[in-house]
């Protein structure tokens, strides 16, 4: 790249050029020092002089923390015009985007959006449209996000609004109406929409081989929104509307909508609940998953959400018990169920509970969502208002603090005021490598965990008679844990239908059941009391499959049914997810035990051994929870950063509060 002026040149009195920075659409930019040593950027205007100068003069005295300050306009000896500007030392969004070919973390997107929106709001408020908003014009600086090149900004007045002006700006970010010479503030909203799309996905929505092709796409093609998170699609669809009059009306509106949709997407927060009931009902149709998970944030026993008041009180009581007491109580209850002959009562109770829950679910479907919202605990309303408060903060991150010494991304600021609720339903980006490490670590740990749990079962109950049985029990428990952990870790951070996931786990359960049925023959413990369901009678055949053969021992099909039902009944991925409430929750394990008892109770007619089934349920839950990777609440982020030990120093990571960015940069060193 050739530049007109050499280092040490002094085209303007008082300034010495040290190096060229880049060549923009409107001229060359140099880094220069004043005679006293002040750093400035000098922009030499070589063409489009009139447009540029007129624009710059309008903006000469604008002051805002998110705009690159213009100091002066000067003429050199050759009558060329120079704009003297603030020098921004940080990287441009253009460069930062190159570090994230697959899209930026959400925190980063919100950081840029906050800064750009604040700057644009200021400009629009003064009747100025930027017109050339693009990643190459937005910079990160120790003072925050800065929008540059406001020399192109146009004064909005009716006379000039549709005047025939030269087509300028980078075509990727150019709104369709620019082709008609119309430059309203909607142009900037459109450009911001394109930049948001690019930040999230890593690519621009309209790309092509030639300028004309891209322009044509802006005019005619619909953006492909399928690669965006579901909640964000309507927001960007509105911002990228072809008709400026039906586009998102202002940059504030775009920012507000985006922050709101992000909050809905990543915390599954009950945003509509705090507005009005009809809206909530309407919203719940769109986001059944979000609604389902939101209740589960609040209720302790996950699979019995939004239960009647009595159970809610019990749950609340359970939550205030200190952890050691929970363990003791949980252990006592588990032993009581396993060792005493309480099978029947627990199974019957469980079945009644199950039927009641089903009825309740049906009722909520027919009666509608307000019913559910009303029956929710007061704690949920509190979370709702806190979330709405957070929204307000997120919407105007920079407005109330125009001068900031450090770029504070909106997300951490919100985190200071209230701890975000991260749940397994929180959508997030997890790097492939991170996911793989997580799975392999979990599997390795599950080896030790199943040994430990089997030892506990061996020592506390009379179920396992000798080491062969213990090995068998441990092996099946571990296999079951793997079958649950691997898919759950793959699903982690992604959205997905609960029913499909359950079906998938159930089919894996069939496999585990088959192994559990076949393995005893190899371990020579086939005809042992361990498997004695003591329910002899006529064989039960379903089609050609013998579910019970009448010998009192369970068949292969029976084993498979048990594991499939157990895997189906619980929402196992909540027990596996890194964002579960605690590494090990006694209540989850206990509830799984109850589910196990209920299932074995159902299979009793097919002589499935009750004690073994129930213990397995408890043991699998324990092993899964103990071995699956877990992130403590304070380390939870929306994208997976490698652990600090693996962290390499990157060049110029500007913000100490954003370790994610730093980690991403490290891979380029």
């Amino acid at each position: 790249m050739k530049f007109t002026f050499a280092p040490e040149a002094r085209p303007l009195d008082g300034y010495t050029i040290k190096r060229a920075v880049h060549r923009g659409g409107f001229g060359e930019v140099y880094y220069a020092l004043s005679d006293a040593g002040k750093e400035v950027a000098l922009k030499l205007l070589n063409n489009n002089l009139d447009i540029e100068l007129r624009g710059v003069r309008q903006c000469l005295n604008l002051k805002h923390a998110n705009l690159v300050t213009i100091f002066d306009i000067r003429q050199d000896a050759d009558d060329d015009h120079w704009v003297i500007m603030e020098f921004v030392s940080g990287r441009g969004l253009y460069e930062v985007l190159q570090d994230y070919p697959g899209g930026m973390p959400l925190d980063e997107v919100l950081f840029w959006l906050g800064g750009i929106a604040a700057g644009l709001r200021f400009l629009h408020d003064r009747g100025i449209v930027h017109r050339d908003l693009k990643p190459a014009n937005v910079f990160q600086d120790p003072g925050g996000v800065k929008i540059g090149d406001i020399g192109l900004s146009k004064y909005i007045s009716e006379s000039r609004r549709s005047a025939q002006t030269q087509s300028v700006g980078t075509v990727y970010y150019m709104a369709p109406e620019v082709a008609k010479g119309r430059y309203g503030r909607e142009v900037d909203v459109y450009a911001m929409g394109i930049m948001l799309y690019e930040m999230i996905t890593g690519k621009v929505p309209f790309d092509g081989q030639t300028t004309a092709e891209i322009l044509m796409k802006h005019l005619t093609a619909e953006p492909d929104l399928s690669c965006l998170p579901e909640e964000i699609r309507p927001v960007l669809s509105a911002a990228l509307e072809k008709d400026p009059d039906s586009r998102t009306s202002s940059i504030e509106e775009l920012e507000r909508q985006f922050c709101q949709s992000v909050a809905t997407a990543d915390t599954a927060a009950p945003v509509p609940l705090v507005t009005s009931a009809p809206q909530a009902a309407a919203k719940s149709v769109e986001h059944p998953r979000a609604m389902a998970s939101e209740t589960e944030v609040e209720n302790d026993i996950e699979s019995a959400p939004a239960a009647p008041v009595g159970v809610a009180a019990l749950v609340a009581f359970w939550n205030v018990i200190p952890a050691p007491l929970q363990w003791v109580t949980g252990g006592a209850v588990a032993l009581l169920i396993l060792e005493s002959g309480m099978w029947h009562s627990v199974a019957v109770g469980g079945m009644i509970g199950g039927v009641a829950y089903l009825g309740y679910q049906l009722m909520s479907v027919f009666v509608g969502e307000p019913f559910r919202a009303k029956s929710a605990s007061p704690a949920m309303a509190a979370t709702g208002s806190a979330v709405s408060a957070r929204h307000q903060r997120t919407v105007s991150p920079a407005a109330d603090s125009p001068v900031r010494s450090h770029p504070v991304p909106p997300r951490p600021a919100a985190r200071n005021t209230r701890q975000r609720v991260y749940t397994p339903a929180t959508l997030r980006k997890i790097a492939k490598a991170h996911r793989a490490t997580d799975v392999s670590t979990s599997i390795a740990v599950s080896l030790a965990a199943s040994a430990l749990v089997t030892a506990a079962v061996f020592l506390t109950t009379n179920l396992l008679k000798d080491s062969a049985q213990a090995v068998y029990f441990a092996a099946v428990t571990m296999l079951a844990a793997w079958a649950l952990i691997i898919p759950s870790k793959i699903w982690e951070g992604r959205s997905g239908d609960s029913f499909t996931r359950r079906l998938c786990l159930a089919s894996l359960g069939l496999g585990v059941g088959f192994v559990a049925a076949v393995l005893p023959e190899y371990l020579l413990i086939g005809d042992d009391a361990l498997f004695d369901g003591s329910h002899r009678g006529a064989p039960v055949l379903v089609g050609r499959v013998a579910v019970a053969d009448g010998t009192g021992f369970p068949t292969v099909a029976c084993f498979m049914m048990f594991f499939a039902a157990l895997f189906f009944a619980r929402r196992w991925w909540w027990q596996v997810d890194s964002f579960r409430k605690a590494r090990f929750r006694v209540s989850s394990a206990l509830f799984t035990l109850v589910v196990g008892v209920v299932i074995t109770g159902m299979l009793k007619g097919f002589s499935f051994p009750e004690a073994l089934g129930a213990t397995w349920a408890l043991a699998i839950s324990a092993v899964v929870q103990l071995s699956a990777g877990w992130t403590p609440a304070e380390d939870r982020r929306l994208s997976s950063a490698p652990p600090p030990a693996a962290d390499q120093a990157g060049p110029m990571s500007v913000d100490p509060q954003r370790p994610v960015a730093k980690a991403e940069q490290a891979s380029f060193n």
């Binding site: 280092p7 040490e8 750093e39 030392s89 390499q648 120093a649 990157g650 100490p656 060193n669």
Partner: protein, 234 residues
């Protein structure tokens, strides 16, 4: 008697000077470093379209706040740190950091000195964070990145601690990543002089240069698509 009092006074004065300045125990080492840094040569590389880089040539480099009276630290940061906060020495292929004031390296508090590995984060007085990396496997030369907002008094993108050579080129593992360049330019020190070598046809101050040439203070190196200026710092 009188002379005895005088001696005592003199001693006290000496002691007071010693106490007042509150110089830590490593003072002796520090002085050694000061002598050592006098041999450290510092250059600024102003590279068009890339940035400004500080190149340090020597065996040992001091990191600290700028000083207006004495010799300033080699890497002088506008930060609330000591004028000689820490120093980095090269011992063959190994880099070591000696802490004179509170310093941590990748979270470890450094009492005396420690070996530096590529990817380490050096933290001075809590808030100043520097990255240490050795980008190229072909060279021992290291880069200091500014990770917190603390910089020298002028915008500098990073500091190169020259061990053998410094690569300027289009790859991420070159010491200075110059996106648009097609050729690599190598800077190295030979006989106390900074020299430059490249396969690209380069000219210095407008005159066509050979394969390898000296870089003098103020010279401008120009190639087909590159241009940079070398400035020797005080």
């Amino acid at each position: 008697m009188n002379s005895g009092t005088l001696n005592l006074d003199r001693q006290r004065r000496k002691n007071r000077w010693y106490c007042d300045t509150l110089v830590p125990q490593q003072e002796a080492i520090l002085k050694g470093h000061t002598v050592a840094t006098s041999s450290c040569k510092k250059y600024m590389l102003w590279i068009d379209g890339v940035g400004a880089w500080q190149l340090c040539v020597g065996q040992s480099f001091i990191i600290g706040a700028p000083s207006f009276e004495k010799q300033s630290a080699d890497i002088a940061l506008l930060a609330n740190i000591s004028r000689m906060h820490a120093s980095i020495e090269r011992n063959g292929e190994e880099w070591r950091l000696t802490a004179h004031q509170p310093t941590t390296v990748s979270g470890r508090t450094i009492d005396q000195d420690t070996a530096l590995c590529s990817g380490d984060e050096i933290r001075l007085a809590e808030r100043v964070r520097l990255g240490f990396r050795i980008p190229s496997i072909l060279s021992t030369s290291a880069i200091i990145d500014f990770e917190s907002d603390h910089r020298p008094s002028h915008s500098v993108d990073g500091v190169i601690l020259l061990a053998d050579h410094c690569l300027l080129g289009p790859r991420r593992d070159h010491h200075i990543f110059c996106t648009r360049w097609s050729e690599v330019v190598v800077l190295f020190s030979n006989g106390g002089k900074l020299r430059c070598r490249s396969k690209a046809a380069l000219s210095v101050d407008g005159k066509i240069a050979g394969d390898s040439f000296d870089l003098k203070h103020g010279c401008v190196v120009t190639g087909e698509e590159l241009r940079f200026r070398v400035e020797q710092m005080e």
